[in-house]
């Protein structure tokens, strides 16, 4: 019988302790931690891995990024221009495939060429809109094409 009442007493005590904690939050509006998103936007830290951006003018077309990419999100096509320099004519990054792992950024040998922007809002209506095109475009015929190097997604990739 004492056991019965003791159990009941302990149960009520523990429940009241719990309710004491919740009421503290319930009556104190200062405990709210929510950020009102569209109005208050948090500033991502410097190392934030957002949308990939390529400064195409300093890109050497070495294809290191496309080779390291584990999901083949980067399509790169380079041709040699008249100065024998590799020119990235097509540089597409498929943001829908990208897993934001950052391997390409680390692989890029040029300082501040391929990097993450602090951008995290890039929803789109179609998948095509999610592909960012950075390529310089095909050369005009008079500029001459010497060599073509193309990296395409590997066939029979497992998704």
């Amino acid at each position: 019988m004492t056991e019965y009442f003791k159990k009941m007493f302990n149960a009520i005590k523990s429940i009241l302790t719990g309710m004491g904690i919740t009421i503290k939050y319930g009556v104190n509006p200062k405990t709210e931690v929510t950020q009102q998103y569209p109005e208050v936007k948090r500033e991502p830290p410097d190392r934030f891995r957002g949308k990939l951006f390529v400064d195409i003018n300093i890109c050497t077309g070495c294809t290191a990024c496309a080779r390291i990419c584990p999901v083949d999100a980067i399509t790169l096509k380079t041709v040699r221009d008249e100065n024998k320099k590799l020119r990235p004519v097509v540089f597409d990054i498929d943001n829908a495939r990208c897993i934001y792992c950052g391997l390409c950024v680390e692989a890029c040998p040029v300082e501040h060429c391929l990097y993450f922007e602090k951008k995290y809002e890039f929803s789109a209506y179609t998948k095509d809109e999610l592909i960012s095109h950075f390529g310089l475009g095909e050369l005009k015929p008079q500029e001459g094409r010497v060599e073509e190097k193309k990296l395409e997604p590997k066939k029979e990739e497992v998704k």
Binding site: I15, T22, Y25, G26, E32, V33
Partner: protein
């Protein structure tokens, strides 16, 4: 309300019988629409309040987008639910499936009828008010089982069986603890009960303070009533982590909304019953016999009544967002091993008290000592 109708009928005594009938029907329809509108407004605000309370307790903000402070959130929710596709499962028992939400809804609203909101504002002055509420709210369990069976879904069936087992079991401590209070004013009429609790600074003659047994009876009733309305920690009929959504798993759109609103309606009814029986109904505390215009007094009384009810509802919400859920057998254990025996002994105690002291409460006795 009945007096109002009677008065109109007497004034129309000379009119043709058909016109009298039409007038009466019109009055009934208009008054039910008013009650329904008020009740729907209450329900909308209650869902809003629930979410806001949950937000506060969980260190969040809660709805704050639709309207000022998100107050119109329930309108948006209602519109959304209205526009949703009404899905009736192919293998459902269509008749039961369709009719169940209406019965739940009707039963929950019918329980609003005998409540007395102020001295002059009430819908029906039933002499069996308490009994009526208890009876009509039991219909809910039947309708829940209808919906659960009609859905032809195994999770629904689990929910329905749980709901019926739970509601039927918890009726017993509910009624026993209510009886402990009812035997003092010796009436089932809501207005009589409230009138009995007047005086004593508007607070000390409340039945909860009448004697130690009614004090305990209040808490037993409150716990049991949480179970009656299927709220955490007793929400096993719709335990979302176990049986998906319980008896309303297959319901969509407005049909789901009926179940949902009925839950909040039930919350109001059980809280109002607790207020009426234990907390002095619309008796304004600490005012005593100050003379004031009738309309002001009525407004104040309504405000006090709703204030008390909402306080109880807030406690229900507070409990919901704090405690984990009981298991189905533990729920029954709580009912049969703890609440029912306690309520029973309480009832015996209260009866003895009434018998020995002729219904005098603690306050009466103490003031009686000073008078002599």
């Amino acid at each position: 309300m009945t007096e109002l109708i009677n008065e109109i009928i007497t004034r129309l005594a000379n009119a043709a019988p058909i016109i009298r009938l039409l007038v009466v029907i019109a009055i009934i329809i208009v008054s039910s629409v008013i009650v329904l509108a008020v009740a729907l407004l209450y329900e909308g605000l209650a869902t809003y309040a629930e979410r806001k309370v949950a937000g506060d307790i969980q260190a969040r903000i809660g709805p704050n987008r639709v309207g000022p402070y998100g107050l119109l959130q329930f309108v948006a929710d209602g519109v959304k639910l209205l526009l949703k596709e009404d899905i009736i499962p192919f293998y459902a028992d269509k008749w039961l499936f369709i009719i169940a939400p209406y019965i739940v809804f009707t039963a929950s609203f019918a329980a609003f009828v005998p409540l007395s909101y102020s001295e002059h504002i009430y819908i029906a002055n039933l002499n069996v008010g308490v009994l009526y509420i208890l009876a009509i709210s039991s219909v809910v369990s039947m309708a829940i089982l209808m919906g659960a069976w009609g859905s032809n879904n195994k999770w629904s069936l689990f929910g329905g069986m749980r709901a019926v087992a739970q509601i039927v079991s918890y009726e017993i401590p509910t009624v026993l603890s209510l009886l402990a209070a009812i035997i003092i004013p010796a009436s089932l009429n809501m207005r009589d009960i409230i009138a009995y609790q007047s005086g004593g600074l508007g607070i000390f003659r409340w039945l909860i303070f009448n004697n130690p047994f009614t004090f305990f009876a209040f808490f037993i009733y409150f716990i049991a009533s949480i179970a009656e309305v299927n709220r955490t920690p007793f929400d096993i009929p719709e335990a979302e982590s176990e049986i998906v959504a319980g008896y309303h798993t297959e319901y969509t759109g407005m049909r789901f909304a009926f179940f949902f609103m009925a839950e909040y309606g039930d919350m109001f009814v059980v809280s109002a019953l607790a207020t009426t029986l234990f907390l002095g109904g619309w008796q304004i505390p600490f005012i005593g016999n100050i003379v004031m215009p009738v309309w002001l007094k009525d407004i104040l009384e309504v405000a006090v009544f709703f204030g008390k009810v909402f306080l109880l509802i807030y406690i229900m919400m507070w409990i919901r967002w704090t405690l984990p859920r009981l298991r189905v057998d533990q729920l029954m254990e709580l009912c049969w091993k703890y609440l029912t025996p306690f309520a029973f002994f309480n009832l015996i105690g209260a009866s003895v008290w009434v018998l020995l002291l002729h219904g005098k409460g603690v306050y009466d006795i103490i003031t009686g000592l000073f008078v002599h």
